[in-house]
Symmetry: C2
Subunit: 196 residues, 2 copies
Amino acid sequence: MARKRIRDIRNEEFIEATIVTVHKRGYASVTMAEIAREAGSSAASISYYFGSKEGLMEATMRHLLRKLRTAMVAGYDRAQTPKERLYAVMDANFADSLFSVPQCNIWMQFWANAPYSTTLARLHRINRARVRSHFLAELGQLLPAAQVETARQALQSYMDGVWLQAAQSEGPLNAEAARRAAHQVVDLVTSSGIEP
Amino acid sequence: MARKRIRDIRNEEFIEATIVTVHKRGYASVTMAEIAREAGSSAASISYYFGSKEGLMEATMRHLLRKLRTAMVAGYDRAQTPKERLYAVMDANFADSLFSVPQCNIWMQFWANAPYSTTLARLHRINRARVRSHFLAELGQLLPAAQVETARQALQSYMDGVWLQAAQSEGPLNAEAARRAAHQVVDLVTSSGIEP
DNA sequence: TCAAATTTTGAATGATCATTCAAGTTTTTG
DNA sequence: CAAAAACTTGAATGATCATTCAAAATTTGA
């Protein structure tokens, strides 16, 4: 138990350091030594815990995905109607704990680099499929079948786009406002509808 | 004149090879040698023409920005009303010549990496400001002042998000459908409006 | 407490790459 | 056509890094 504890603590420290350092220096040019310095440790230690740089990046992405999934499930379970569940998906993406400049920035960098790493690509694919099916399930209850796919496209594009803009934002973000705007977008798309 | 000609031809060849190769191998790991091979030339030649790898990336981004600006200006000039001009901005982004998987992919990679390169960051900033001011100018004619900024946010997020999704698409894209959907998004946002 | 297990790290290793350079080839120009 | 200018490239250079390793430090467990 104690054995496991230390390993878990280190893992979290290194993952946190990875988020901070990738945000600061960029995925393309961040080095093990930089991440280690941020964590107050040495590059060799990271290899000891994660095996390789790629292993560290994978662990970091898993960590972020887990956070997102947790936020999503929490709201989803509480929601009663299809529209409330759509709100919940949006609210999860724009939750206070997730919708910050460094985290949106990291997401963007993982998105951009996922296609070139087998392990990242896998995680990425699974996550996309999950979000997609959530959207389709709820929209299917609210719109005629012919409009569902177009509406999904619109909502998901909007959601991704907001993160992308957030990643490039210079000031701090307003998560509450983002959620409010997202709800309105859901309302617009599901009430009047976008026709295919 | 002839002197200039050769340099221009080479530049275009190398930039085209850069787009193809970055798409294939990823911004983070593409090498000069790979780009040179794609162009049927040598890495040394790229240094001769562009000075450095960063110089090549900058030239490539400039090339893409020029293409986008050209498409934009063409439609913008033809448009008569504010709403038509909003359509024109969308149409430029989803023009047949721009809205392809490799180009959307490259854009995403440049977006992700721009903050970590002085020259890329500059280009990026200028472009964003330009798009932003176009949106604001037209929306200002169509909506009460209090709603303009929120509407801009929504439209620009949608636009960026569509590119992001396109970059990850597995099949070829349907630019015409993207334009149609974008027009509907413009209609929704400008008619009913998103309230701040 | 003390031996075994675990964790830490400085230094060594080896691979990768952008860039430079010198020696060529091709093209331009007068 | 010949000298000059422009272009090309293989090989050399040097810098940067991830990863490994062996030795030391710390923690665990009896």
